[in-house]
């Protein structure tokens, strides 16, 4: 069961920070003794570079993050939040979904740590968790654009060769 091995390492996205366009003040900087954001990023990347593969725990967490990206309506919501923070009502108009559906998907995105919410008066303002989510989304969009040009054919040929 070594199908995870031998795959090329993912791009070191933490070195290419986004422009911080998500708007809200960084919500994940703890003030108590817990490790700061930078420390946690450093630990994950150390784990990644020294062992050459991810620890099972990190792999689970990464798979969780990707699960949150695995539904088209959630990706569309993230795309809107990539531009700027939105309220539920704005998102409803932007992606053309019912309020219950938007709220449900936002709750899933928060549960999986891709989105944060902040109270603004009577409404809640939703934003991307941090710039990693923005670059994750950018990379995914870039990857799909590449697939459209040559990747699909290549992938198909690869499958045939493997068979």
């Amino acid at each position: 069961m070594t199908y995870c091995d031998g795959s090329p390492p993912p791009p070191a996205h933490h070195t290419r920070l986004g422009s911080g366009r998500c708007g809200l003040a960084n919500p994940i900087e703890p003030t108590d003794g817990t490790p700061t954001h930078a420390e946690r990023v450093a630990r994950v990347s150390r784990d990644h570079s020294t062992t050459g593969s991810l620890s099972p725990k990190t792999a689970e967490a990464v798979a969780d993050a990707m699960f949150a990206l695995s539904t088209a309506s959630r990706v569309r919501i993230l795309g809107r939040l990539r531009e700027r923070p939105h309220t539920v009502r704005e998102l409803m108009a932007a992606v053309g979904m019912e309020q219950s559906a938007v709220s449900h998907q936002l709750r899933v995105l928060r549960e999986y740590g891709l989105v944060v919410a902040e109270r603004r008066g009577r409404e809640r303002l939703y934003a991307l968790h941090d710039e990693h989510v923005a670059s994750l989304l950018d990379e995914a969009v870039g990857h799909v654009a590449h697939l459209g040009q040559s990747g699909k054919r290549k992938a198909k040929r690869g499958l045939r060769d493997a068979g």
Binding site: M1, T71, E111, A162
Partner: protein
Amino acid sequence: MPADASATATVVRATFTPPSERRSVLDRAHVGDIEGALGTVIAFDTAPRRSLHRRLATLLAIMGPGLVVMVADNDAGGLSIYAQAGQNYGASLLWVLALLAPVLFINQEMVARLGAVTGAGHARLIVERFGRRWGAFAIGDLLILNALTIVTEFIGVALALAYFGVSRYLAVPIAAVLLLAFTATGSFRRWERAMYLLVAVSAVVIPLAVLSHHTSHSTGLSGLTPGVEGGLSSASLLLISALAGTTVAPWQLFFQQSNVVDKRITPRWLKYERADTLIGTLLIILGAVAVMLACAWAFAGTPAHGSFENASAVASGLRIHVSSLAGTLFAIALLDASLIGAAAVTLASSYAVGDYFGFKHSLHRGWRDASTFHATYGAFIALAAIIVLIPGAPLGLITTGVQALAGILLPSATVFLLLLCNDRDVLGPWINPRWLNMLAALVVGVLVVLSTLLTITTIFPSIDITTLCLGMFGALPIVLAPAAAMSRRRQPMTAAARQTWTMPPLEKLPTPTPSRIRQFALIILRCQLLLAVALLIAKLVQLGVGG
């Protein structure tokens, strides 16, 4: 060699997209390897099981949801009802259990199929297919009902340990900590092993029945032909409804569906999951028969016959009339039943909350990872423990409330179950065949009548139950007739395609087509709900005026 080439191509596709990886789920932990208490099935290992040895190993790995849900159904309330039936009516009500076995199996097989094919919980499917109001009603009633049921389980713990002289202020907190320990480790396998341990202990009712048989004066088995000792009366009808009501509980539907999803069982393994449900059904009936017979034999010809009080009185009665070992065995059985019941009902609640609201909900996740899931579980346990420990809490009222609320929830849950099992968008090639629809409609009809009866009589004990019963069963065919017309033909599909068919992601489902039967069922349900609410309000008014 074109034949060879196509064979190779099939293998390659199967290797790269195993069905379990393609299915849509609401929590990522719901896809992957099956990690059962007694074995593992790797996610992409869907090869045919040719030898008997391989089949048995697969069954051992997949077995669990059906077994646990059934044994947990013999909980504190169930055990008391079986003891009551045995003590008051001898072995004459055994036929009710024989009728309940197929009812249980049919219901639980349907939810297990829904779970394996859709990857979603029962509450989520109700929201998606019947709208947010029905979903909110289902989950609201389920959570209140479950909270009250867990209280009755803790009462069972307190009664059982009181038999051994342990104070309830010690017994209940210990049980609460134990229940938290079952799930908090974040390992599905460890949870299932703990449940299996409780299942194994529940077998003590067998030696109990044997002991009771040896000391008894009358050991006749008169209960296999329908009838009631002392004739059909209001009290015996009520007990029969209560037997059905505690044996077929709404939480079981929600629990097994979510547990099948959480165990990562796909349509490929449905045959094994059916076997699991069947084994569970046999075990629950075996347990119920043992308790009923033990009490029937022990109390026959004694002054205690016909005057059931409560479960702890049964334990001391068994000590006096049989032996001290019999009393101890019954207390152990009661403790075990309360623990497994509480574990399953609490889990049913936290599964439902996660499933409904979209939080992570899986036993594969630990405290930190799925905090809402575990917090819900903890909150239910803590709430129930506190209620039991409050001096002067209205515990009798709680038991009554459980029966009344279950009667309100069960009809809609079973009707929705039947409609979902005929929904082609949801189950595709796995919808009910016509014969199963007829059978299931009959089961649902009888359950709806019995549970409504139970609700009415719990709220208004003075009502003439015999006439009511005749009237309601007379109306049954009118409700049942449309169900026969509901069946749709299954799409023709090869066995292999069927095994890999899973429901498309929920958001891609087309809106349900408003068929006449669907409308009819929803109208009936609204009427039933209005009636129940009207009855509750009438009772409250009556209490207010009388008090």
